[in-house]
């Protein structure tokens, strides 16, 4: 699954550690999501969307249907 996490984080001038702290996860988890190595659970995806004030679909994109 593709995502815009890195872009959104950069727009706010946050480090991975800053974002990790806000989401209450490890920096590794943020890095793994950003690099596409790990897809977050639905609760974490909602937390991310709440934090950035965007819909989940605006942050995450399913590569299979390209939507």
């Amino acid at each position: 699954m593709k995502n815009r996490l890195k872009v959104l984080r950069a727009e706010r001038d946050w480090t991975q550690a800053d974002l990790a702290k806000a989401l209450k996860v490890s920096r590794q988890t943020v890095n793994a999501i950003e690099t596409g190595k790990y897809d977050p659970s639905l609760p974490l995806a909602f937390k991310i969307s709440d934090l950035f004030g965007k819909q989940i679909e605006e942050i995450f994109e399913n590569e299979q249907n390209g939507s």
Binding site: A20, K24, V25, S26, Q28, T29, N31, K37, L44
Partner: protein, 140 residues
């Protein structure tokens, strides 16, 4: 605590604290295991009640270590839990399969020495550690 960051790279002070608790329980368990194992030979002369006390203390510290590990596991984030579960699954699988093969080697006299549980514990521990470190490096 530096060691906590090697494994989890945590941003959560709660998990750092729980890692310290786990380290203390583990240290206590290992020390009590050594005392229960070598005490009858070097510290007291096989008095049954002392042996039993040492074993009960060792068991109690082991239970504390398990509870502490469960608390740490529950406090970790979802990726860390996934890494832990995978490592535990591989270690358990290899422990069962490898342990039974090792036992068969002993039963069928393919190996001369008796199968020792210590080797099984070492095998499970090393497998768990390798899997944990490998996945932590992968997601770093």
């Amino acid at each position: 605590m530096k060691t906590a960051h090697i494994i989890s790279d945590s941003c959560n002070p709660e998990t750092d604290q729980l890692t310290k608790y786990l380290a203390f329980w583990t240290l206590g368990w290992v020390v009590s295991m050594a005392i229960a194992s070598f005490g009858p030979t070097y510290l007291w002369e096989s008095a049954t009640w002392i042996n039993l006390t040492a074993i009960v203390v060792n068991f109690a510290l082991g239970v504390g270590m398990i509870m502490s590990n469960i608390r740490l596991f529950k406090a970790q984030d979802e990726l860390m839990q996934q890494i832990q579960l995978k490592a535990m699954g591989i270690a358990l699988g290899l422990g069962v399969v490898g342990g039974l093969s090792y036992s068969l080697l002993d039963i069928t006299n393919v190996i001369e020495q008796d199968a020792e549980i210590a080797f099984l514990v070492m095998g499970v521990s090393i497998t768990y550690l390798v899997s944990l470190v490998t996945d932590n490096i992968r997601y770093r």
